[in-house]
């Protein structure tokens, strides 16, 4: 399908870059999955795993950053190659932030006591599952270079936001009502929800990069007339 580069060295580096991104995506998706599960399971060893995975993410992110810079310096990429390198840098940053959020939310999740309201826990879990799916679809659209799928997953952010806001208002209402199981946890549930919402935001950023990589334009997806 795609012809190979005349410069094998260059070709190798570009492939290496993509491989790193794949690696990073896999780790981060795993992180999110584990973190979301920890909301319900409260397994502290799982929480530790997200911590460990985060170190790997950081390492790969550094690799992507250095490799991108090297490619730009030595090979002066243009057109499709340039777009790839450009978006690789930004996507890796987004992924790295996602990883951070996952780690933080897992840490907070295990510190929430088991007496916390089950319904709210479920809501958090569902939000997390929604975010997980959105991230998966977005990353798939990146590697498949699927513009349509990118747009669809971008649009899922609306639903994520809605769920987040609903959860938030529930939490606040219950605090207002001075329900002990909620009040005792303080800001932790709010922050967990926030982390999940932020992961969703980062996913929409990635979706925008996907579209740039494919079309060469940054479009305001809010204004685009796609249903």
């Amino acid at each position: 399908m795609e012809t190979a580069h005349t410069d094998k060295n260059f070709e190798q580096k570009l492939n290496h870059l993509t491989d790193n991104l794949i690696k990073m995506s896999n780790i981060v998706e795993k992180q999110i999955e584990i973190a979301v599960n920890v909301i319900k399971s409260k397994d502290s060893s799982d929480a530790q795993t997200t911590q460990n995975l985060d170190e790997q993410v950081d390492e790969v992110e550094r690799d992507v950053r250095d490799l991108s810079f090297e490619i730009m310096t030595l090979h002066r990429p243009v057109a499709s190659d340039l777009r790839l390198v450009f978006t690789a840098l930004k996507v890796s940053k987004e992924l790295e932030r996602m990883g951070d959020h996952s780690r933080n939310l897992a840490k907070r999740a295990i510190s929430i006591s088991s007496s916390f309201d089950e319904d709210l826990t479920d809501q958090m879990h569902n939000l997390g599952k929604g975010v997980q799916k959105m991230v998966n679809q977005t990353l798939e659209s990146f590697f498949k270079k699927d513009e349509v799928q990118a747009r669809i997953s971008w649009n899922q952010d609306a639903e994520i936001d809605r769920q987040y806001k609903s959860l938030l208002s529930d939490l606040i209402e219950r605090m207002h009502n001075k329900e002990t199981s909620v009040v005792d946890e303080g800001t932790k549930p709010i922050l967990i929800a926030k982390s999940l919402e932020r992961i969703g935001d980062h996913a929409t950023n990635i979706a925008e990069e996907v579209i740039f990589n494919i079309t060469g334009h940054y479009i305001d997806l809010k204004k685009s007339d796609f249903e």
Binding site: E2, H5, T6, D7, V78, A79, S80, D81, T215, G216
Partner: protein, 258 residues
């Protein structure tokens, strides 16, 4: 594709060029906006130089070369019309070549030759002014003003090429064609010429054939990509180098070409 719009210095359409039976240019239509730099890129043998040479009828000297098509200068003059004197055409459309080719005469004589044979200057003073002005515009005057009577071939490669540009400018063309003008030059000389091209476009329309993609991206506002005699894509240079429409174009400029 051809219109009376005089915003174009040159409009071409339905261009076919054959060398004997072999086709070199296949149905190309390309318009060149005034006072802009258009670059023609493409792999070796793609026809870009052949196309360029049609624009000032340099292909006339090659017997087996057969040129067909419409070439309108300023929207109203067909340069291949039998009414047109090719020497007058070349007053309007100048050319700078790949390897600098100054005449083995003095620097002054090199620049003065064109105006002399076209009778542009009415006095020696006027001729001197034209020579001085052309050398200024080519960014060479300061370097040679004290040695105008030296033989031109004693200059460095970059200086010789700027002299050739001065020579082309001296007859007051509207369009300057450049066929890989920096191929034979070192990077500093190349940079000087690219800077010069940037200045020249204020007063001339420039069409440049180049092997160097980076040069095309630095220097031109419009880029045309040729392959096997076909015009594959034409557009804003920025767009061509970020997101060309055709995959073939992308493959070429990223170096994936077979």
């Amino acid at each position: 594709m051809v219109d009376q719009n005089s915003n174009y210095a040159l409009q071409t359409s339905e261009v076919y060029v054959h060398y004997g039976k072999k086709m070199a240019i296949n149905n190309v239509a390309l318009n060149f906006p005034k006072n802009e730099v258009t670059s023609l890129i493409g792999p070796s043998g793609c026809g870009k130089s052949t196309f360029l040479r049609c624009l000032n009828r340099m292909n006339d000297v090659i017997d087996i070369c057969n040129v067909k098509g419409k070439f309108l200068l300023n929207g109203n003059v067909d340069i291949y019309s039998p009414d047109i004197q090719v020497e007058t055409l070349r007053e309007k459309v100048g050319m700078v070549f790949q390897k600098p080719n100054p005449f083995p005469k003095t620097i002054y004589e090199n620049v003065a030759y064109g105006p002399k044979i076209h009778g542009i200057a009415s006095s020696q003073n006027e001729l001197d002014e034209i020579v001085k002005d052309s050398l200024h515009r080519a960014g060479l005057y300061e370097e040679v003003k004290d040695r105008m009577d030296d033989i031109a071939t004693g200059l460095s490669g970059g200086q010789q090429q700027r002299l050739c540009i001065a020579r082309a400018i001296a007859i007051r063309p509207e369009i300057i064609l450049m066929d890989e003008p920096c191929s034979a030059l070192d990077p500093i000389a190349t940079a000087k010429i690219e800077d010069l091209i940037n200045e020249l476009k204020e007063n001339y329309t420039i069409i440049i054939v180049t092997h160097s993609m980076s040069q095309a991206s630095r220097v031109s506002s419009k880029t045309a990509f040729f392959h096997l005699g076909n015009l594959v894509e034409y557009g804003e240079t920025g767009k061509i180098f970020t997101k060309p429409d055709k995959e073939q174009t992308n493959d070429y400029i990223t170096g994936r070409f077979g």
